[in-house]
């Protein structure tokens, strides 16, 4: 006999509201349906009522974790429509901010995953590390969540103390290499909760079009920082971690290795940070009529903005946002099929879902 068990929209395992209706035979999930939209804000439509300055502040609110990434993607699109090119220092600062955001996102996720595994001490350790990253973000931007860093043609603030970032990177690398990665990879609890659980096969990952760590953990080697470099990523040497197994453990490993790669990128960006201006000089600029596309590798995967403008218009005529969770989430249906009911909170969390982004 089948039972339908709802998880959400409000549930201890969910960080944000959405609903997963699971069809179960005993303890085994045979199918699932997903329902989103509980936080739908109509931001794409609101954007049509905002000017080029206001729309940056609006799109920063699409997501509370990768707020920098959203404004970066939007500003890159608007720069293509205005013909403004940010100076080299701005491009490097964008890389630094993007990688700091990836670090805090991945460490946050590791903490939440640890909590869902029943690993409360690890949760606290991860959040302690995350605080150090947040402190650096605050030192650079003055803010902890919405950084207000991006503008058309550059960034709003300089990185004044690169040495502080290096110090944090060293501490983080040490903690990751000596504590977090060994515990996640060797602990019996972590292994039993993650290995072979919530598998997304390589074939299914391709057919669902999943992105980011979710794709890379199913053996799909895609990363826009390498495949379609933006900002100053062309100048950075780094590896793209890929795992073939497609289970929760693979997703965990990919993110852990990505933290190490982000530290590597940060070191390079700081070492090579060019002198000069961090935004184009103040002055008049204008938009041309047309559509621009921009993509960025966010912590959860590819973000794409399609921005349309009409010459002399005050507001954009269309801003379409495709967030990573929007494509990763439907794959959860395939991940939970055949899984034990008790594993489903961790499985859905393993894609690092963001419903703020998805509902936008």
């Amino acid at each position: 006999m089948s039972y339908k068990i709802p998880m959400g929209p409000y549930h201890p395992a969910l960080e944000e509201p959405y609903k997963l209706d699971m069809i179960c035979e005993g303890e085994t999930v045979t199918d699932a349906q997903l329902h989103i939209g509980f936080n739908f804000r109509g931001i794409e439509h609101l954007a049509e009522t905002r000017n080029y300055f206001q729309v940056i502040a609006l799109m920063e609110r699409v997501c509370g974790i990768c707020s920098f990434i959203h404004t970066l993607t939007l500003c890159q699109a608007m720069e293509q429509l205005t013909g403004l090119t940010p100076p080299p220092r701005a491009q490097y600062i964008r890389v630094i901010m993007a990688e700091l955001e990836r670090l805090h996102s991945h460490v946050l996720w590791a903490g939440i995953a640890a909590k869902l595994m029943g690993f409360k001490t690890m949760f606290m350790t991860c959040f302690e590390i995350r605080e150090k990253v947040m402190d650096i973000l605050q030192a650079i931007s003055g803010n902890r969540v919405n950084y207000s860093m991006n503008r058309i043609g550059g960034v709003n603030r300089d990185v004044e103390d690169p040495a502080a970032i290096l110090k944090m990177v060293e501490a983080l690398e040490k903690e990751m290499a000596h504590t977090i990665i060994p515990i996640f990879t060797t602990s019996t609890t972590a292994r039993s909760r993650c290995a072979g659980i919530g598998v997304l096969t390589h074939q299914k990952a391709i057919s669902c079009g999943v992105v980011g760590p979710t794709a890379r953990a199913s053996g799909v080697p895609q990363d826009l920082r390498r495949d379609a470099p933006y900002a100053a990523y062309k100048e950075m040497a780094f590896d793209v971690p890929v795992q073939p197994d497609g289970d929760v453990r693979a997703r965990l490993l990919v993110r852990a290795l990505e933290i190490m790669e982000s530290c590597k990128i940060l070191r390079q960006a700081i070492a090579k940070l060019p002198p000069g201006e961090f935004h184009v000089p103040e002055g008049k600029f204008s938009f041309v009529t047309g559509t621009a596309g921009s993509r960025v590798e966010a912590p959860r995967g590819e973000v794409m903005y399609s921005v349309s403008w009409k010459e002399n218009a005050r507001n954009p005529s269309r801003v379409h946002v495709r967030t990573p969770t929007y494509v990763n989430m439907p794959a959860v249906r395939w991940m939970v099929r055949g899984a034990r009911l008790a594993d489903t909170p961790l499985i859905q969390a393993s894609i690092d879902p963001c419903y703020s982004c998805t509902d936008r």
Binding site: Q33, I36, G37, G42, H45, A77, Q80, T291, G293, H320
Partner: protein
């Protein structure tokens, strides 16, 4: 012959690819979207999204389909005079949610597919269009600002 030229040939499009503002565009007027999706599948491209634009003065819609091919962002613009276009969901699983979202926001029909319960809002009235509410500057009920909040 490059992969892009192979795609153009397969679709029977005479015009060239145009790289503009981050996107490689191919004008696909007259090409069926299912033929396009099949061609994209054949070359191993990854579906990204669909963007629907409502054209001014009720002249229809423009649909923009995006795929990624080895890091290149491909864009295909398809004009839409009626409010219906073929669904590619059966050819491209990743298009499911965005087709449902566009259906709900613009009442466009993606022919040949069944819609599951609404993605974004409760109720069975697709086309309670947010843009209309935004355009008039008034909330849906007709009340203004503080009255609406108080209510």
């Amino acid at each position: 012959m490059t992969m892009l030229e192979t795609i153009r040939e397969k679709l029977g499009v005479a015009g060239p690819w145009v790289e503009q503002r981050g996107v490689h565009w191919l004008d696909c007027t007259g090409v069926n979207v299912r033929t396009l999706a099949a061609a994209m599948n054949a070359c191993g491209a990854r579906f990204i999204t669909i963007t629907a634009y409502e054209l001014p003065a009720d002249t229809g819609f423009r649909m923009e389909y995006h795929w990624d091919l080895g890091g290149q962002l491909l864009g295909f613009a398809l004009p839409l005079e009626s409010k219906s276009i073929d669904s590619i969901y059966d050819l491209c699983e990743a298009a499911d949610w965005i087709e449902r979202e566009i259906h709900e926001e613009y009442t466009l029909d993606f022919a040949g597919r069944v819609y599951e319960p609404l993605l974004l809002r409760e109720g069975n009235t697709p086309g309670v269009n947010l843009r209309e509410t935004g355009a008039s500057g008034k909330p849906a009920s007709g009340l203004v600002g503080k009255q609406e909040v108080a209510r």
